[in-house]
């Protein structure tokens, strides 16, 4: 049970997405999940071990680390990726429900091709349009919320080299040094940039869907 299971679930939703949705999914897998797993996790791997404070007082290092890093960047990114991927499940559930209804009608005697039903691509109209659009809206909200949480929790997106700490049991103001601050800042800005790109893609998809439905409605009335 790891990122591979998320890939399996989202891969299923991919069939029913618009082209922009498919690009978003690719960006999510390659530039966010993959970068998180192969690079970012290694950079943050030794964060507590190599967090060094200029004091011999036992417990001071632990307390200072906990004070400056309440939730590690890596954990926040993992949560962000999970929350941002989850609205797609709404679409998957809707599609599964529609298929279930069709199968029920087949059992009641209607003629439906079962094999075609399994591989059929659902067009985004009617109730599915509402589900799909709400899933994009939630994705945008979650991205924005997490970007703000990062900004608020870490006072911006830069990782300082040195933090000054005087939490008990540190005897006075103690210098503590963060490990690999430049590399961490680079990856934080990279992940922020890709979050921004994903948000733009979601906004573009939302506008595309709204414009499409307005044009359809205006064509019907004329």
């Amino acid at each position: 049970m790891d990122w591979g299971s998320l890939q399996a679930v989202l891969g299923g939703v991919n069939k029913h997405s618009t082209s922009i949705g498919k690009i978003w999914l690719t960006v999510l897998f390659i530039f966010r999940i993959m970068i998180l797993v192969v690079a970012a996790e290694r950079v943050w791997g030794d964060e507590q071990q190599d967090f060094v404070c200029n004091t011999l007082q036992p417990g001071c290092r632990n307390v200072c680390y906990d004070h400056f890093f309440p939730i590690s960047h890596i954990r926040l990114w993992a949560l962000q990726l999970i929350f941002v991927s989850t609205p797609a499940l709404l679409v998957a559930m809707h599609v599964a429900y529609t298929r279930h209804e069709k199968k029920r009608r087949f059992r009641n005697g209607e003629k439906i091709d079962i094999e075609e039903l399994k591989n059929e691509k659902m067009h985004i109209r009617g109730p599915l349009w509402w589900t799909y659009t709400s899933s994009i809206f939630f994705r945008i909200v979650f991205e924005a919320v997490f970007m703000y949480v990062f900004y608020y929790m870490y006072d911006g997106y830069q990782m300082p080299r040195l933090v000054k700490c005087n939490a008990w049991p540190c005897p006075n103001i103690v210098d503590c040094f963060v490990s690999r601050p430049t590399e961490k800042t680079t990856f934080t800005i990279f992940m922020l940039a890709v979050s921004g790109i994903c948000m733009m893609l979601n906004l573009a998809e939302l506008c595309y869907l709204v414009i499409k439905i307005c044009m359809k409605a205006s064509r019907k009335t004329t």
């Binding site: 790891d2 990122w3 591979g4 998320l6 890939q7 082209s19 498919k22 690009i23 690719t26 897998f29 390659i30 530039f31 999940i33 993959m34 970068i35 797993v37 192969v38 690079a39 290694r42 950079v43 030794d46 071990q49 190599d50 060094v52 404070c53 200029n54 004091t55 080299r161 040195l162 210098d175 503590c176 040094f177 963060v178 490990s179 690999r180 601050p181 430049t182 590399e183 680079t186 990856f187």
Partner: protein
């Protein structure tokens, strides 16, 4: 979910590549991805722990390591592998778009959706140019960040809180240097393969175009 994803992606791309393109995929798999996973990752695994400075001042090692390795070699290598493999997705998207169009119109619009002609040729050429561009950008980045491809045994550091100029020793410098040169060599090989594929395609389709026009003229 890690390098296996990239491997599947590249295998998918292989279907729509030319002969040289398939050689490129094989070089990336075997001489870059495989070498990275089985060898390079382990060399740089404990780079921070094994970086030692001749001082007991807490924080000095952290600060010196950060100064000499703003972004670790191995992370740049991983980013390079990912960025260089991604342009091939453009071709995959274009073929999927063609197949989708054929399905929508329920008729054969293309000789074969995977054959490199017309619009797909443009997409393929753009992906080759992007791949070559990324390779060159990363090589230049490596060169600029680390003053060449050498890994010194000893670096001298005098950043606060180090009290004076301190000797710091990098772990496995020779092994790292050998693998860096290997990375540069395989990058250059991939650039050469991409450029030859680019010239081959441009040459082949110019000849095709010229012949078509010549035959039309004489009919």
């Amino acid at each position: 979910m890690s390098w296996g994803f990239l491997r599947d992606l590249l295998s998918g791309v292989n279907k729509y590549s030319t002969g040289i393109g398939r050689i490129w995929v094989a070089v990336v798999f075997i001489f870059r991805l495989l070498v990275y996973i089985v060898a390079a990752e382990n060399i740089w695994k404990y780079e921070h722990d094994e970086f030692e400075c001749n001082i007991k001042q807490p924080g000095c090692e952290n600060v010196c390591f950060d100064h000499f390795f703003p972004v670790s070699h191995i992370r740049l290598w991983a980013l390079q592998l990912i960025m260089v493999s991604t342009p091939s997705l453009l071709v995959v998207f274009h073929v999927a778009y063609r197949e989708n169009r054929e399905k929508q119109h329920n008729q054969k619009l293309y000789k074969s959706p995977g054959e490199i002609d017309g619009g797909l040729l443009c997409t393929y050429l753009i992906s080759l140019i992007l791949k070559t561009g990324f390779e060159i950008v990363f090589l230049v980045l490596f060169y600029k960040l680390y003053n060449g491809f050498e890994v010194p045994r000893l670096v001298k550091c005098d950043i606060r809180p180090c009290p004076n100029t301190v000797d710091c020793y990098i772990s496995k410098p020779t092994e790292k240097m050998i693998f860096l040169y290997f990375l540069v060599a395989t990058s250059c090989l991939c650039i050469v393969l991409n450029l030859s594929e680019l010239s081959y395609l441009i040459f082949k389709y110019s000849i095709k175009c010229y012949l078509k026009r010549y035959i039309k003229k004489h009919q």
